[in-house]
Structures are given as C-alpha cells and as structure tokens.
C-alpha cells in the first residue's frame, strides 16, 4: 500500500478493489504499530475514522465519489475539528474539543476523505523541531534519535512512515517545507490567501498558510485542488477562479528559467545539502531548464524581521487563551489577575512564552516604531526583491534548510541556532509567495535532503510541474525509512 500514490488509491477505491474502511483500517493498524515510537499523532479515534470511511464507501457505492473520495488523510492538530480534541500541541488546549470544523476540514470532509487523526506539532506551531509540543517530541522515522523538523513534524513523520497517505500542514515560516525536507516527503505552502485560515488556530495571521504534505508533487496537486478556494469567513481569503493544480504536471520544462539566489548558496549551508541541490539543478538542466543566478539581497534580514512580526501577531493572537471561557485554567488562584498569570504560566510552554514576551515588547509604547514598523518596511523590501527576481526567472530554487535533521535536544538550548533553520523558508512567508520542498537526495548519514522551490504569486501549478518532472526522473520521494520490525511493508 505504501507505494501507492493518492491517484492510485483513489482508482482502487473507485474500482471497488478496496473499500475506504479497509484502507482506513490498514492505516490505523500501521499507526497502532508505529506511532508509539514516532509519536506523530496526538489523537487517533478509530471509531470516528471508520465511520467517516463508511460514509465515503456509501458515496462510492452511490457513484457520488470525487477524485479522492475514500482516501484517508491526517490533519495537523491546529485545525479545529468538530467533536475532536484540538490541542494545537499545547497544555492550554489539552481539554478543548472543537465545536466546529475549520474550512480546510470542511473541504476534506466534503471531498469524502476520512480523517486518520490529529497530528503532533510544535506548541501553537512555534518551533522548527517539534520538540516544543506538550505531547512530547516527534521522532524522525529515518532516525528516531533525530527531530522530524517543525512545526508540522507529526504530519511529516506520519507521511514519511506511511502511517497516512497524506497530511495537512501549516506554514508560518517554513513549518511545512522544513519538516518535509527533514523526512523526505513533498510539501507545499500556497500563496497567502489561497487556503482559508478559518478554524486554523492562528500563530501569525499575516504569515500562516495551510498546505498539503504527501510523498509526491502529484499528490500535493490533488490535495491542493481540495484545499483551496474562497471562504467568506476569512477576510484575507482570495476570491479567484477555481483552478486545477494538476493541469500542468506533464508539461516539459524546456525553456524554464530557474533562479538560483546566490545568498542561499553562501555561508552556513551544509556542503552535502549544497551538493544535492546542485545535482538537482543538473537534473533539471537535462530536462531543458536554464539556471539563472539571481539575488535576494534583503533575504538575509528575513529572520530578524520574522522574529519581530510573527511574535508581535502571536502575542495578540494568543491573548484569548486566558482560562476564562475554554481550555486550561489554573486550579488555584487568588484573584482575576492571579488566575490569568497562573493559567498562562502553567498552560504555555517556554517557547510560546518567549515569543509572547518578544511580541509584547516590540509592540509596546516607545519600541513599536523601531521594531514593528521597521520590520514591516523590510518585509516590503524582501517582497520587492522577489518581484525583481521573477523578471529574470520562472521559479526560484535552493535548499529548503541549511542542513539535515538534527538530533533531539541538539538545538533546544539555543533558540537563535534553532531559528536559523528557517533561513531559506521564511522569505516566502514574508512575501506571501508559494513555496515547496521536495526530496533531492540523502546525506552521508542517510538523512533526507530537501530542495525548495519558490514561485511567483499563484504559480503553484508551475511549481508542481517542475517538481513532478523532477520526480519522474528521480526516486528520492519513493524511498522509505528503515522502520525495523514495526514496518510490515518495508522493502
């Protein structure tokens, strides 16, 4: 089963060679076997999953099935899911059962795709290693002593270990792309506004964007077809004509101009990662593409800008977690202020508190102009760099992360070292551009290496075309992690 693409699974379902219930049960069994060592899921509810699968089977039987009906999917625990515990990886929401479905969840339900459960994540999506989760770190299936990346670490790990054929993720500064790179899968962050944020618990509203995570670019294209679309409940949702993101998958790459930002191949990049990415460029050249050197001069400021703007928005977005109406409340308190202080001191983890403090600081009287406003100006300059770059190229290519998956605990004590992991991914969020990561090799320790593509606004189909053509001539995305005894289908 693990070698099947989403379209292959859908075809088998449509042909009634397998039922959605059988398929769901197979994945649930695999989750039961592997999750104890990987910790990719926070919540699994077989009964709910099988009920949704049965409903999908009914649709198929009635001939009312869409392209992916009956194919199960795992959802990041950042999406409110009606009747499911929705924790966002935090103690603060450890008792929160959402009373409604996020727009993304609604769309997958409408497509007849059963949920396999809610995946682990860095607390409130703040982290690059999935170590900040209240529910414990997720282990990288390629080496369980290593992190899967974050914040969508559970989503990446469950797809890499084939505990799910696909998963949803969210990306504020690289949270889809970096874990995809660390686990050898494909993940895409769409243009800001393409996927509704309604029901997706906010980290940094102007940067957050949901996207698909799956083994291949083709899978991501099909998932994107389900996820995108205007939502009147999200004022930043874009009203555009529906498009088929798989339409250009098979286009040849002849004439494609691939921009290589010189700043992304400079100091700080691991040499094995650099070599793998350069090899991928060679592969693309064979397919007819032309490399072009470009410059994204202001992208070196992306991390400081991001660590002003994202915490600023987060400090405000997380104010609603006050113990008054839902979620965790400290058991003992002497007054209202005491209740607030204890609830938030006990309910949030260290990284979340750090970012709330940074955010409150940069917005405070006397510092706003120097930090927040200044960061907004540089954000504009970073976006301008991209606009200029897309005059000279069709898609930008570089490494997704400066290195491969690091060891659990290796960077936990040094936030700045941790933040540097998102050096190459953050600029796309700041500019609102689409970006994706796909596997392009392995380092000497057998860890996956990710290649990042950044496209112009709404150029998802183009990026998926490039990725798919590359994946037609490579097999990095088909390789499976060595999962020992638990992996029944390892080859």
């Amino acid at each position: 089963m693990s070698e099947f693409s989403l379209s292959a699974l859908a075809a088998q379902l449509a042909a009634k060679q397998v039922s959605s219930r059988e398929l769901a049960q197979t994945y649930l069994d695999r989750i039961a076997a592997l999750n104890p060592s990987i910790n990719a899921f926070i919540t699994v509810d077989a009964e709910k999953t099988l009920a949704e699968a049965a409903a999908a089977d009914a649709l198929i039987a009635a001939g009312k099935n869409g392209p992916l009906t009956g194919v199960p999917i795992a959802h990041k625990d950042i999406f409110c899911t009606d009747g499911w515990l929705t924790t966002c990886g935090s103690k603060m929401l450890s008792n929160f059962v959402a009373p409604y479905d996020a727009h993304v969840i609604q769309r997958f339900k409408a497509a007849g795709m059963p949920s396999l459960g809610k995946t682990n994540m860095d607390e409130f999506a703040m982290g690059s290693s999935n170590e900040t989760s209240f529910y414990g770190a997720v282990k990288n299936p390629w080496d369980t002593a290593r992190v899967p990346g974050g914040s969508s670490g559970g989503a990446a790990a469950c797809v890499a270990a084939r505990m799910a054929p696909a998963a949803t993720g969210t990306d504020t500064g690289g949270s889809i792309r970096q874990p995809a790179a660390f686990t050898g899968i494909t993940g895409l962050k769409p243009t800001y506004g393409l996927v509704s944020r309604f029901g997706m618990i906010a980290f940094a509203s102007s940067l957050d964007q949901a996207g698909p995570m799956a083994p291949s670019a083709e899978d991501c294209a099909l998932l994107l077809n389900v996820m995108t679309g205007f939502d009147p409940n999200d004022s930043t949702s874009l009203e555009r004509d529906k498009e088929d993101y798989a339409r250009d998958l098979d286009k040849p790459l002849s004439g494609l101009r691939v921009g290589l930002p010189k700043e992304f191949f400079a100091e700080g990049l691991n040499s094995e990662v650099a070599a793998a990415v350069e090899a991928a460029v060679t592969e693309l050249k064979k397919l007819g593409a032309t490399p072009v050197e470009i410059s994204l001069a202001n992208s070196q400021l992306a991390i400081p800008v991001y660590y002003v703007l994202a915490p600023a928005e987060a400090s405000s977005n997380l104010s609603r977690f006050d113990g008054v109406r839902y979620g965790y409340r400290a058991p003992d308190y002497a007054s209202l202020d005491d209740m607030y202080c204890k609830t938030r001191a006990q309910g949030f983890g260290a990284e979340v508190k750090r970012r709330i403090l940074i955010g409150a600081y940069v917005l405070s009287h006397g510092y706003y102009d120097a930090y927040y406003l200044q960061a907004q100006k540089i954000r504009r300059l970073i976006a301008d760099d991209f606009s200029a770059a897309f005059e000279a190229c069709d898609v930008i290519l570089g490494p997704t992360a400066p290195g491969t998956a690091f060891r659990l605990g290796e960077k936990s004590d040094d936030p700045v070292e941790m933040y540097l992991n998102d050096l190459y991914t953050i600029p796309a969020n700041l500019a609102g551009l689409p970006g994706m990561s796909l596997p392009c090799g392995f380092d000497s320790q057998g860890l996956p290496i990710g290649l990042q593509l950044v496209g112009n606004y709404f150029s998802e189909a183009k990026m998926l075309n490039v990725a798919h053509q590359y994946q037609r001539v490579t097999d990095w995305h088909k390789r499976l992690p060595p999962l020992g005894e638990a992996s029944g289908e390892r080859r």
Partner: protein, 476 residues
C-alpha cells in the same frame, strides 16, 4: 482668580445594524445571557472577523452628515488588554487611520450659536458585560453585547461649560438618531458619553490637566458630573493642590466623581494593524450612494422651516429636535397651510399632552392629519382657540375626527350674528355699571363685558365678532 472650563467629549454610539460588526450574531438588546454569542463572539480558537458593511455605511452616513473627511482607506487595529468580558484579549478598533476625521456640529446655548469641531470618529466593537452580582464571589460574563458595532465620536476640547457639553451631546444624539445610525437609547447604553474635563485660569493659552469622566448615560448626569468635577478641580487648585491625569467615575447617588485609575495605571494597549482584516476601502460610488440616500439634515430643515413656514429660529430648532417631531410638524403644517399655528400647536398643546402622558411623538394618539384638520377649523372661524382645545381633548381621547367631535359636542363657534347680538344686548342690559365705567374711560370694563358675553355664549361666540359688536353698541 477666574477659571475657564475646557471640555471635550468622546461618545460611544451603538450602530443600529441587525448583526454584529464582525459576526452574524444579532445585536438585539435584552436577550438571555450569551444567547447572542457565536463562535466568533466568544473568540473560539481559529475564528476570524468578517466586517459588516452595514456598520461602515453608518460611519459613512455620519461623516457626510457632519461634513467630515472620509478616509478612503481606513484601517482596523487591535487594542490589546485582558479582561474577562473582552473574549479575544483585544478590541478591534481604529487608531491611526479612522474612517472619519474632522467635521463640525452647531449648538445653541442661551440663544448663541457655536460651532463644535470634531476630531474623528472611528468604528470599533463593543465588549461584553461583567455581572458582579448574583454569582456568590464570582463574576458572570454575558457576551451578547460583545462585537456590537460602535462609532466612537471624539470632539475637540471646544466646550466651555457643562451647558455647552450637554447641548453638544444633545445635538449629536439628535443627529445620530436622525440619520438612523443609532437608536439613541441611553438607558440601554446605545449612547454613552465620556467627558474630558480640565480648568485653566481665564486667558491662559495652555490647557490644564484633564480628568476623564467615564460612561455617562444621561444628559442630566453629564451636566451634574461636569459641574461637580469643575468645582472639585477649581477647589483643588485654589487650595494649592495639583490635578493628576486620571480616569474617574460619576456616582449619581452622591453626585460626586471618584478616581477609577491614575495615569500611572494606564494600559499600554500595544496597538497594531489587525492582520485578520484588510484595510477598508471606500469607493466614490458607495459614498455617493450613501449621500443620495441621506435624509434632509436638521440644519437644512431648520432653515427651510424658517423660510417656508415662517417659524422663528428658536421654534425651528425645537421642531427639529428629532426627525419624528420634524416630520410630524411638517405634516401638520402641510395639512393646514398654517406654519406658525402648526408650530404653536405642536410645541404647545401637543407637546404638553405628550409630556404629561410620557409618550414619544411617534406614539401620539393625535395624528398629524387630525391636528392639521383642527387648525383648519380654527382658521376658518369654526373654532375659537378655546373651543379648539376642547376638540383636541376629544382627539386625544380617540373620540373621532375633528368635525365629528365638533358636531357631537356642540363646539361650533356661534356664526349667527343675530343670536350673538341678542346675547350682547342682554349682557349690556344686565351690566349697566360696566357700561357706565367704560363710557367714563375705563378700558378694563370693556374686557369684563367681553367676558360676560363669552360666558353667556358658553364659549362659542367668536371673540373678534364680540369685540366688534360691543364696540359698535357702546359707541351708540
């Protein structure tokens, strides 16, 4: 030393939209707690605000009505603070780029007209309510009001007395209800006033330190609170004290203001643009459509009443105290063709009766058409003023239409001059003393004779006719 009072007002008006500013929940007042609180209103994780265009339209109406600048691009900001009835931990408001800037309102105090300039008006959401009673050491939170659209209207510090402040607040109240953006119900909190008050030695250019009196929900309290505050500030200064910037509350029971928080306790609200909402763009088409749909405004109507119906400036101002009153007056005036008489009746007999019965003009038992018909009967001589009052009473009681009441109650003014002449002759014959006095030059005696004739006719005689007849007879 002579002191000058300086007052600026911040008025929170609840906008009269059906649903909340960022959610589809009802804004109706008085529902059971938390029954008008949706996922958005209680700030569940993941929910997002969607702007109610109706609220923006209200703000546009207001901006046009006061001749203000409408910012074609205006921005919502987050005002961050923690309070249990503020579910998101921030209020969505407008700080740097409000929808309305500038504009002015005319007030009249002691017959003198004065223009009060406005600083700005911005849209924001209301908070919920904290109920501190009835919960045994706990606080109840009702989020029905959370997210109700508000327009906060800020004046320049241009008022110099509590009377001016009240006149401004009243004029503003009239305007926002007139253009239909606020129901004006002060008891229900639809129109809440904060007053920034300071004093300074007369002639000094700089302002004194101000204190802000929060949440005044009647014009009387506004007046009382300012008067008390001004006295307190002057006394404090004259005793050698200093005024510290502070927020104070007015206690209607004691008639005093008391400190709520000092400047030191002031929040740092950490305002920043709300990333969940796009900047609000006002297209010219939209603005022009709103302008075209605006009713005639009080100032324009006052001018028209003066020129068209010949009423005084004062009467025109009173008659435009509310749109319902103005519309009523105009309907009466049109029905009878007598502007001045219509004004007298509306402001006199009708207003008195309505006040006594504690009724609003909209609930008047006497319709404008009926009052107009009544005035027609005065004008054509059927009724004297006195008889007309009796007919009015009949109308008030619902006894039928004007002519029916006149007939049924026999209130028609005596029109037969033969009958009247007979009464005059009888009165003259019966009062020789008064006749004698008049002839010897006592004008007063004439009035006594008129009174006797009126009495004898049981009020139905036409007073002008009586005068005429009496004069003729006495000069013989």
């Amino acid at each position: 030393m002579k002191w000058e009072t300086v007052i600026g007002l911040e008025v929170h008006t609840q906008l009269a939209t059906q649903s909340k500013i960022f959610s589809g929940s009802s804004t109706a007042f008085g529902a059971a707690p938390n029954t008008h609180a949706s996922a958005v209103d209680i700030a569940l994780p993941g929910v997002l605000p969607v702007l109610n265009k109706g609220a923006v339209e209200c703000a546009i109406k207001f901006g046009l009505a006061i001749g203000a600048t409408l910012n074609r691009v205006n921005v919502f900001d987050r005002k961050n603070y923690f309070y249990p009835d503020l579910p998101k931990g921030y209020q969505i408001s407008q700080l740097a780029k409000p929808i309305v800037e500038g504009g002015a309102l005319k007030i009249v105090v002691d017959g003198e007209e004065k223009t009060i300039h406005l600083t700005r008006a911005h849209m924001e959401e209301d908070a919920g309510k904290s109920l501190h009673e009835d919960f045994h050491g706990m606080t109840g939170i009702d989020l029905n009001r959370a997210g109700t659209p508000l327009l906060e209207i800020v004046s320049e510090p241009e008022m110099r007395s509590s009377a001016e402040a009240v006149a401004y607040a009243r004029a503003l109240h009239t305007l926002v209800t007139w253009i239909g953006i606020c129901d004006g119900n002060m008891q229900e909190g639809s129109f809440r006033v904060d007053a920034n008050v300071s004093v300074r030695p007369l002639g000094q250019a700089e302002f004194g330190t101000r204190r802000e009196i929060k949440n005044l929900n009647s014009f009387r309290f506004l007046q009382q609170a300012i008067d008390y505050e001004v006295r307190w500030q002057i006394e404090t200064l004259e005793d050698g004290g200093r005024i510290e910037q502070a927020t104070v509350l007015f206690d209607p029971d004691s008639g005093e203001t008391r400190m709520m928080r000092s400047k030191e306790d002031a929040h740092d609200y950490r305002y920043f643009p709300d990333p969940d909402l796009l900047p609000v763009k006002l297209g010219e088409d939209w603005i022009e459509a709103v302008r075209a749909a605006l009713p005639e405004l009080p100032a324009a109507m006052q001018a028209r009443f003066q020129s068209g119906y010949g009423v005084s400036a004062y009467d025109a101002a009173v008659l435009t105290g509310s749109r319902a009153l103005a519309d009523y007056f105009e309907a009466v005036a049109k029905a009878c063709g007598q502007g001045k008489l219509a004004a007298n009746w509306v402001m006199g007999e009708l207003s008195a009766a309505l006040n006594k019965a504690e009724l609003d003009i909209a609930a008047s038992p006497v319709t404008a058409a009926q009052l107009g018909a009544l005035i027609v009967r005065i004008q054509d001589g059927t009724l004297s003023g006195k008889l007309a009052k009796q007919v009015f009473e009949g109308l008030w009681e619902g006894a039928g239409e004007v002519d029916a009441i006149i007939d049924a109650r026999g209130l028609r003014q005596m029109s037969d001059s033969g009958e009247l002449e007979k009464i005059v002759d009888e009165v003259l014959a019966a009062n020789p003393k008064s006749v004698e006095e008049f002839r010897s030059g006592k004008e007063k005696a004439f009035n006594a004779l008129v009174g006797q004739v009126m009495k004898a006719s049981r009020g139905k005689a036409n007073p002008a006719q009586v005068n005429e007849l009496l004069k003729a007879k006495l000069q013989n």
